[in-house]
Structure formats: C-alpha cells, structure tokens
Amino acid sequence: MNPLIPLFVAIPLAGAFLIMILGRFIKDFNKYFASLILLILLIFSIYSLITTGSKLSLYKVGGWEPVNGVPIGIYMVMDGFTVIVLCIINIVGFLSVFYSISYIKRYTAENYYYALFCLMVAGMNGVVLSGDLFNIFVFLEISVIGAYALVAFGVEKNELEATFKYQVLGGIASFIILFGIGLIYWKTKTLNIADIKASMSSGYEKSFYLFAQILILSGFGLKAAIIPFHAWLPDAHSSAPSPISAMLSGVLIKAVGIYVIIRLFFNMFAITEGMSILITTLGTLSMVIGVFLAIGQWDIKRLLAYHSISQMGYVVLSAGIGMILISRGEKPEVAALAITGGVFHLINHAAFKGLLFLNAGAIEYTIGTRDLHEMGGLSKFMPATSATSFIASMSISGIPPFNGFFSKLIIIIAAIMARFYFVALLAVIVSIITLASFLKFQRYAFYNKTDAVNERKIKEVPFPMIFSMVIMSILCVLLSLLVIPGIRELVLTPAIDILMDPSKYSSIITGN
C-alpha cells in the first residue's frame, strides 16, 4: 500500500496543531512552517502525479481486509482523476500560503490563520482521497469549517455577514448531503463508493435513487455554487482575505463540489439520461447567468467571484455532455473529448482564477480599495502585477496562446460534435462577454488615468507576493502544453479513462 496516501491528510493536520502550540512561543514560526508543510505536500502530489499514471492505488486504513469480498474498513483511493485534483489543491495552496507571508501582516492572530489554512487543506485532500461516502462528508465538514472561519477573518461587518450567509447555506447543504448519504446507506447497507456501485449492478429501485441523486446533486451543487445555489459565493469569496479567496475560488469549490459530483455521478450512480440532461442544463445556466451577473460589477473581487460561477458552468456542462453521450451509448470518443475538456478546464481555472484573486489582493494591498472606479494607471507602478493579471485575464477569456483557450476550444468542439449546437453557441458568446468584462478590469485597474491614484505613493508589492503571482502566470502558459499528444496521455488520459468506464473504478476496488 502506498504510504503517501494517508500522509496527504496527516501532515497538514499535524502542521495545524503544531502551529497552534509552537507558534505561541516562537516568532514567525507559523508562516515558514505552513509554507514548508505545503511545499512538502506539493512535492508529494507532483510525485504522485508522475508515478500514478493509469494505475489505481488503494489504501485500507487500519489494515482492515474485506470480509467475503465486502469492504468493511475505510478505503482511500488514488487514481488518475484524484491526483490531478490533489496537484491543484497543493500547488495553489502552497502559492497562496507563500503569498500570505507578506499579505497577512495587516491582520492579527496569524497563528489561527495558518492553522485554519492547514486544516482546510487537510480536509480537501481528505475529500479527494476518500473512497467512501461518509468520509467524504466528514472531510468536507473539516474543510468548510476552516473556510467559514477564514472568510470571517477580517471580523468586520461585511465579512461577518458573508460568513453567516455561507454558514447557513453550507449547513443546509451538509444536511442535504447527509440525508442523501443516509438514504443510499439504507438501501445498499454500505458506504463504500465502489461497493455501492457493485450492489447497484444487480438491479435497483429507480425512483428511490433518483431522489438520492437529486439530494446529492443539490447538496454538492450548493458547495460548488452551481447557479440556483450560488447566493453565498459572491459575498464569501469577495470578503475573505485574498489568498483565501484564491483557495476558495480556485480550489475549494472544485475539490468539495465539482470533484465529488463528477466522481459520484460517473463512478457510483448508474448514468441515466434524465440526470445527465439536468446536469447539462444546470451547467449551461451557471455559465450564462454567471457571466451576466459578473459584467456589471465594479468591486474586483465580486466580479471575479461571479466569473467563478460562470467558468464552473463550463466544467459542469462538459461533464454533462459526456454523461448524456455515455447514457445513450453513442459516440464514446466524443464523450471522452467532452470530459477531457471539462477536466482540463478544471485545472486551468485553478491556475488563472487563483492568479486573478492574488492580483486583486495585490491591488488591495497597495491602494487599499477594491472598487474599480477608484483605480487607474497602476501598470506604471506595479509592472509585475499588471503583467501577470494581463496573462490571467487573457487565459480566462480564452485568447490563443494561453491555457483557457485550449480547454474552451475542446469543450466547444465536443459540444458541436455531440450536436449541441445551441450550447456551443452559448459557450462562444459567454467567452466573448468574459473577454469584455476582463478588458474592463484591465482598463480601469491598470491603464485608465486618474488623478486620485497619482497622489498616493504606490509601490510594487513585496517579493513573496510577486513570486506567487509569477509562478501562477507561468503555470497559465505552461498548462496549455497538456493538450499536446504525449503529455496529454500522461496526465489527462488516465483521469478520462477512469471516468469513461462506469464499472472500472468499482471492479478494481472490489476485485470482482
């Protein structure tokens, strides 16, 4: 058994508690230790990405072997799709925590910040690695409780209102998820994802599972802020400290929302056409409505937060198209293409949206406002921030040399090949509106001339912040290499294979 798998959860947990103990006595211990922990996790996750390939490694916690082929212990599973999300979590996590070294000085209680950050990372790693439903729920709670506290870290009126809204809606989501898990457990007498799939293969009650599927979709949809469930996201993501916004928007909604939806609907439930059409519709709605809500915003972080909803719409939409094709049993290569586009866009979104929030943090750090009206002419004073945010803006709008272009192109091509012409058209239009709204961001923040700004003394941000932003922007460019055949087979194809074959995941784990 691969000993790295439990360490992904154990190391950040241990780090969080050590920071709370030693951080009291040693000055500056917290920031460097948290960075070190995330660096170790980053190395582990990249090592796992390289070594995993198309194998699926299983970890039986406590060494509990299955009895008569029925898994009884807690299983942790690492496969092609898991390692991709693990890499996203730990890379964005490391860069955010390194960025925080300078950024978080303006707040007090740094120990709590770093400890909660480590807890959140531990929770997300746990959600991604967990092989059974109940542990997904437990780790989900660990990560979102960390997130609730971190959103409120400024402890002012806006932050408290945002975190209250987030907690209420998050609490409802957790309740719905637990109810859904309970219903599934009642029928199948097991919590292991692979075992549930195996027990469903011998026939199941359609309407009962439809209810459970709807519950699971709405619960995790609330965590992922798909459009009818999005009310908490703009507030929460814009009031959090910027590195946390980057983590929430770049990672948390994917790891605890989209990842779980894709994993459960592809690998656990039997794919039905009705459910896949519902998911596609929700994705399309998020994509379109999110961007229209975003374009009118003048608060940069709110604008970025609404774009997160829109971009996640692309991911959900392409996963939905893949599901429709799989359920009809036609054109498997197009279904694989659609899912490739979705997973690829998931990776890209982490890079460019993380970077955009770090840019927004840098702007807020220097001039102390998030309102686009009050900015202007920053490109002269902050060249690094300006250049990196230009790269990120072009990536998110889908301009050719950057990564966003390739994933959107794959999604649109897949939609056309699957004969969803209207959806493809909408995807193109949304991409154009995204471009418009980011040109607005660029113009008002960096190029527009205003007198108000020139009066203040504006300096470029400190080194840790520039370092994180530059690395993220390099990632934005380099990730487009993933489409090249040869590299694609190493990273994306193993993930697509495990999702495309509905019974492969369960048959490897249960050994039938």
Binding site: M1, P3, P6, L7, A10, L13, A14, F17, L18, M20, I21, R24, Y59, K60, V61, G62, G63
Partner: protein
C-alpha cells in the same frame, strides 16, 4: 465573573470531584461499555465548568485558563495523530494500525491501542469544550467594559 452563594459553592465542591471521577471512568472503559472518549470528555469538561460557574473567576485568570486549555487541546489531538502515525512508522506500516497486543476480551487493559485513543480523545474533547465555554465567558466579560 462573580461567584455564587456558599450553599452552591459547598455543593459544587462535593459534586465536582464525583463528576470528574465519573468522566474518567467513562473514558477508560470506552472500549468495554457505552461511551468513550467523546462522552467522557464532555463530562470532564462539565466538572470544570461547574467549578468556574460556582466560584467565579477574574478576567486575567480566565485568559490564562483559556491559553492552558487551548494548549492541552492541541497537544492531545497531536498525540492522537502521532498514535495513528505510529502504526505507519513502526508496526506494519499501516496508518491507524492497531499494532499493540490485544489482551483478553472484556479485561480493562485490552483492545490494543483503543484505550489510548480514548484517553487522548477524552482530554481533547474536555479541553476544547472548556475552551469554547471560556471563550464565551471572556467575550461576555469584554462586552461589559
């Protein structure tokens, strides 16, 4: 925070010790009887909370107590994690492996590592519930000023 009357103080002195002992009983019999680390920890915290409520405490002392309970909480949960990792590092290289000798069924010292987990989870829960209580009391004291 002011204390209460002599009657309450005397009764609390009589009861708190028994509550504490009962909490310890629930924790160390966690692997044999219903209850365990969590339930016992809550009872332990209850005895401390009784004492603080009955005898009262001043602000500085409350802050000191909160620091102490936070420290205990973190140390206890870290120990639980180390016990879990000990399975990975020693034993049979498996996380959460119960590698200690199991003993005979029904004996107080049996079940390998489970009593150890129970004890540290008990300390953790007691300390964390006490911390929550103290945080609320401190918040109320701060509001007065």
């Amino acid at each position: 925070m002011k204390g209460m009357t002599t009657i309450v103080k005397k009764t609390t002195q009589l009861i708190a010790g028994m509550v504490f002992m009962y909490g310890i009983y629930v924790i160390i019999h966690g692997h044999l009887t219903p209850g365990g680390g969590f339930a016992g920890g809550v009872i332990l915290a209850g005895s401390f909370i009784l004492l603080i409520l009955a005898f009262g405490s001043d602000f500085v002392k409350l802050m000191k107590e909160e620091t102490g309970s936070t420290l205990y909480e973190n140390l206890a949960i870290l120990t639980v994690l180390l016990l879990a990792l000990s399975g990975l590092l020693l034993g049979t290289r498996i996380f959460f492996m119960n590698w200690m000798p199991k003993g005979t069924l029904g004996q107080l010292i049996s079940a390998g590592m489970l009593p150890l987990y129970n004890i540290f989870v008990g300390i953790e829960v007691a300390a964390s519930i006490l911390t929550i209580f103290l945080a609320l009391v401190i918040f109320k004291e701060e509001m007065k000023e």
